[in-house]
Symmetry: C2
Amino acid sequence: MVEAAHFARTFHKPKQTMNSVSVFAPASVANVAVGFDILGFALDRPGDEIVARFSDKPGLRITRITGDGGKLSMDTQKNTASFSAYKLLEHLGENEWGIDMEIHKKMPFGSGLGSSAASAVGGVMAVNELLGGRLSKREILHFAVLGEQLADGAYHADNVAPSLFGGIVLIRSNRDLDVHNIPVPDGLYASVLYPEVEVLTRDARAILKKEVPLSATIEQCGNLAGFMVGLYNSDFGLLSRSLHDVIIEPQRAQLIPHFYATKAAALNAGALGCSISGAGPSIFALSSSRAIAENVGIAMEKIYLEENINCQLFVSPINQQGAIRL
Amino acid sequence: MVEAAHFARTFHKPKQTMNSVSVFAPASVANVAVGFDILGFALDRPGDEIVARFSDKPGLRITRITGDGGKLSMDTQKNTASFSAYKLLEHLGENEWGIDMEIHKKMPFGSGLGSSAASAVGGVMAVNELLGGRLSKREILHFAVLGEQLADGAYHADNVAPSLFGGIVLIRSNRDLDVHNIPVPDGLYASVLYPEVEVLTRDARAILKKEVPLSATIEQCGNLAGFMVGLYNSDFGLLSRSLHDVIIEPQRAQLIPHFYATKAAALNAGALGCSISGAGPSIFALSSSRAIAENVGIAMEKIYLEENINCQLFVSPINQQGAIRL
């Protein structure tokens, strides 16, 4: 019976369908200093590669994972990449396809760079493309967020949406997935440093006070709105004046050794602003040109190298494409 | 000596200087639901008219006030309109001019429509224009805010900047007067209802809790950023989804009788959103056309008329000019 069902599905397979699809889903920086839980942007690299291919054996399976040091589950229901794809297949009523998935982790875990979001995006997009691109990116967003939720416990799109769509993304409401791309000024570059120290997302969230002073809320709102105007108007001066997180960064900085020294180094090297990427420990800076961003990255890296802490540096424009077929 | 000094000044009087200048400075709506202390917009009407004219008697004097029911001070140092002008003259080193000022209040006090801000703007602009427009609007902003501070106790520009510049204005930082005009979508209209009940600004501020739940801060930030994107993209749907104040309105609504009934009436009549104007008691709604805004205004007004509470209704596009010479 299973074979027959599979045969019936294959009969309706759309003409443009390939036998194998590879997708790259990029890393992302969430929060962006002034948009806790509501802003994120994508990087050109690093990112994950997910391969999906038809198989004669019905059902979705993970056949291979590389780059994870053996840490990720091969169980379809417990792995972010396969879970988002599974939820898509379930929605489409296409669970009976035989699909093998390979997951190539090409970015660090627990780094604050949206590793689980990239896998969730890559998984759902690879399977959607394998089926002929049945749904739009906007339509698969929900399934990618379900994959992220499996890893993080929360239904939030501040890494998923940038990884999927690219650019700088506002998530007005995570509940409603009311997401909007904001213009990216020419020349805007990110320097992202991942110091190899462990910060657990749940610790980073638990440490936050449940209440915020009204005065800090007003100041943060002013900076958030200033950041938006700066992006629309390509006003680097305004972006720089706006990139100050007075709510979250002061609470989380203590979790990241040498954070303030690194931030000072970035600003001294000409960065527009510098803060924590997602829940950390990665630290991002924004700059108005590639040359400045490279100098800023080197200045940030130097702090950790002098302390004999391993780190990885990524200098990247804002990725405008998001997840792509390779 | 004084006469001689005056003569010397007169000798340098710029050629374009008139003997008398009249300025109209419009009312404004501060906070705009999602931008407490940082957003405001200007109305076409009501507003104040300020007249400044040269006099042979040295010094700045208020010679006439109308429309205030005798409530405003004629003392130059205690009246918002003359104080802002005085501060400008002091800055320019031009205190010795003989200038008479007339203040024609054409809008209600204590209404939450920026009455003191309009007077402060009108006063400083009238005198600046009388002296030949020595400074730009951007340069006289500070002096207008000093006038507002005399009335309100706080150095804030969320009514002053819209009244002076027109449009929808972001004040990223009141301390730095980092102000920015945001694009106004075609068709955006305001319906503003002033119910003649008293709300003291200091009560409206004292009632506010000093702490805000982090979850409410995140929601408000999402709505603020959504409102900005909606304005830049003329996306009325997004404006409507964004126009929800989850921080201030729930605390202040109790000060305004029938607020929630009025808000419901506005939304039922098709408004994009509805909230408290400034510290109240005025209530504003935004709509996507004049016709809707007129219906919304009538629906709001009906609530108070049925309760036998006097009210004044203003339906206006967003005023794009701000204060003007008449």
